[in-house]
Point group: C2
Chain length 404, copies 2
């Protein structure tokens, strides 16, 4: 007897027909004498439609009420799936966040799960019932509905897997799993069978859209292995687990890219202590995230150029704030470029392989791709390149690191 | 300081723009130093859309899950209205059935309200907050969502008016109030200023669609006067109250009609005790409601014709059941007619005026309208006529009883 947490994303339950297919899939899994807890997202499109309604009323819609509104999406899909299971002759029941309850803190619209009460559902699934839990939602100590933010249903699944001590946590989605790079970018992209939490965290942060970084982080903290797979293909997907359970044959596991970066250079800044702080303080205070930073040392030691990257959407705000700050910063001019993108190689194997950096740069040089900036961590190297070089860079690195 | 229960129907909150208008209306009412409890229906169309989804999955969708599904409709409208109130600078909060809670029995999809906890909301409105309550929904003792059936939001409003001891209960809808007859049927229809619970109950049961009979019954039992009015016209509507608060100047208060009737006649039934029971027992067991019944006494005392009316949608089922029963009933033939309609006059004043029946029949005779069947109660007289005579009958009676 295995206990399973199975999570279905919005595209997997996007139509009534798909909900019925998911019910069939669950019937099959249930037959294999399993205790099943299902976590379900809102039907695709529902959440965006509700958000649109709220935005029409207020650009700054009250957070508590937004959570009441948005949680209706999972309430609808959970009851529909449960009805479909009952129609197939199965014992099934839906639970909303407040009914379990899934207790969270009071950070409405981005709450964190504190505790999940398990006795009622454990009892139900031990008696052959399939429990269907509305994802994304919880209950605050004020007896009000909370939601968990973007990718919240994955967070629900990971937390449920932890509190119910399930044998596995499967995330069903509309892709086959995690790939060595985006298949729409490079036809030679291959599905990764196993990836470590840390690698997946980097992949997710750097643009692989299969899971939100915060959910990967939670599964890492709890050491809850996740199996990401396609709902309707039936194939094995990607297992996200701890590093020690993976046999590393390759130095690099995957290649990601983002295309929403912009680069700024402050030319001729007077080189004295505190200058970086002066540049970045007003940006930080305005919620602008700085990604990469390069400071060239000037030949005469008096002036320097400071280059940094930000999200493209923050460019005009950043320019305004920096120009306003010109007197204090005392730079000569600003150069900016919003046609840049960040390409990264990720792999836990690179810790033991010091030649990776060199190999990466050589591979890009051979393709005549100019590197505009570099940032590294233990298990990833990111480079900034001209946007029109992105595909070329991804393909070259995919080949260089044996992923083709 | 007055305490008000204000209920808004689905058409009153059918679009975001209308929700914003309702919020404006509430702001105005709140300024008049009132404690306000709002009861809200789902945006028009939402409930039907959700029902359609459930029907695609199962013709017999699980009741408990259907309540989870349908209650999402009022959850959405309640949170949107509350957001709109907050946007106007008002203090407001939404409450779902389970949060208050509104305790009901376990008859999922048609539950009855048992008790409403009042302290949290009373405290909130006493501190200038506007409480927005999702109508139509409650909580069973199993901690599961229940709904109150058709017209359930009106039931919520009446119960809330009772438990919160409000000074008034206003039902905002898309019509100006209750009319002497359907304005789309007769241009001389007039709005009724005051009507008794009993009259309204007959009106509602006989086809006036402003309120469901069950809600009128509840308000009658609790003696909670209801003010039905148009959301956006701002005019005074119709007050439904106890008879002793009404000064009756007219014998007849209103004229209703239904057009979904069918008539059956069993010709040549052997006239002996128990024959009526034999005819109606199989129909009753199959949930077919019998409305009017006429039994003609035969000249020789051996045979009789039995005529009765049913809902038009039940006709084919009734024919089948009655034909199956032919041997036992021993009738000669069945005649049926689904082109009939029921026209009724309603008025508490007719108790003291015995000439009403005669006056009604004479009025119809003058118009050469044939009466096919008659049924009466203390405050109403119904006649069955050919469907194409409906408008003529309504107009004649409207004039005869001084309603023009």
């Amino acid at each position: 007897m295995k206990r399973l947490a199975l999570k279905f994303g919005g595209t997997s339950v996007g139509t009534i027909e798909k909900i019925q297919k998911v019910a069939q899939l669950l019937k099959k899994r249930h037959k294999e004498s399993n205790e099943i807890i299902v976590i379900i997202s809102a039907m695709s499109g529902t959440t965006n439609e509700l958000i649109k309604k709220s935005k029409t009323i207020s650009k700054n819609f009250n957070s508590e009420e937004l959570d009441v509104l948005l949680s209706a999406g999972e309430q609808i899909s959970a009851s529909l799936l449960t009805g479909a299971l009952i129609e197939l002759g199965l014992k099934a029941r839906s639970w909303l966040g407040w009914q379990i309850p899934i207790l969270t803190d009071k950070n409405y619209t981005f709450s964190k799960i504190i505790k999940i009460k398990t006795n009622e559902i454990s009892n139900f699934i031990s008696k052959k019932g399939i429990a269907v839990i509305a994802g994304f939602q919880g209950l605050s100590s004020d007896n009000r509905i909370t939601t968990l933010g973007r990718g919240g249903s994955d967070l629900s699944a990971v937390a449920i897997a932890k509190f119910f001590k399930t044998d596995s946590c499967e995330i069903f989605t509309d892709v086959e799993g995690v790939h060595t790079t985006d298949p729409s970018m490079h036809s030679k992209a291959k599905k990764i069978d196993k990836i470590s939490y840390e690698e997946m965290l980097e992949m997710a942060s750097l643009g692989a859209k299969v899971m939100q970084p915060i959910s990967v982080q939670e599964s890492m903290i709890n050491d809850t292995p996740i199996h990401v797979k396609s709902t309707f293909s039936g194939k094995t997907g990607t297992i996200i687990t701890s590093e020690d359970k993976i046999d590393y044959k390759k130095v690099v596991t995957g290649i990601t890219f983002s295309r929403n970066d912009a680069k700024l250079t402050l030319v001729g800044v007077v080189d004295k202590p505190g200058v970086a702080a002066n540049i970045f303080e007003p940006l930080g205070k305005n919620n602008i995230n700085i990604d990469m930073v390069i400071q060239n040392i000037s030949s005469d030691g008096k002036e320097t150029d400071v280059t940094f990257t930000i999200k493209r959407e923050d460019l005009s705000k950043t320019l305004k704030l920096t120009e306003k700050n010109k007197k204090k910063l005392n730079y000569k001019k600003i150069i900016h470029d919003d046609k840049v993108s960040k390409v990264s190689i990720i792999g836990a194997g690179m810790i033991a392989n010091p030649g990776v950096t060199y190999k990466m740069f050589r591979s890009l040089a051979n393709e005549k791709i100019n590197i505009l900036a570099i940032s590294t961590s233990e298990i990833k190297i990111s480079v900034l390149v001209q946007e029109d070089m992105t595909r070329k860079a991804v393909k070259a690195l995919h080949k260089t690191f044996g992923l083709d």
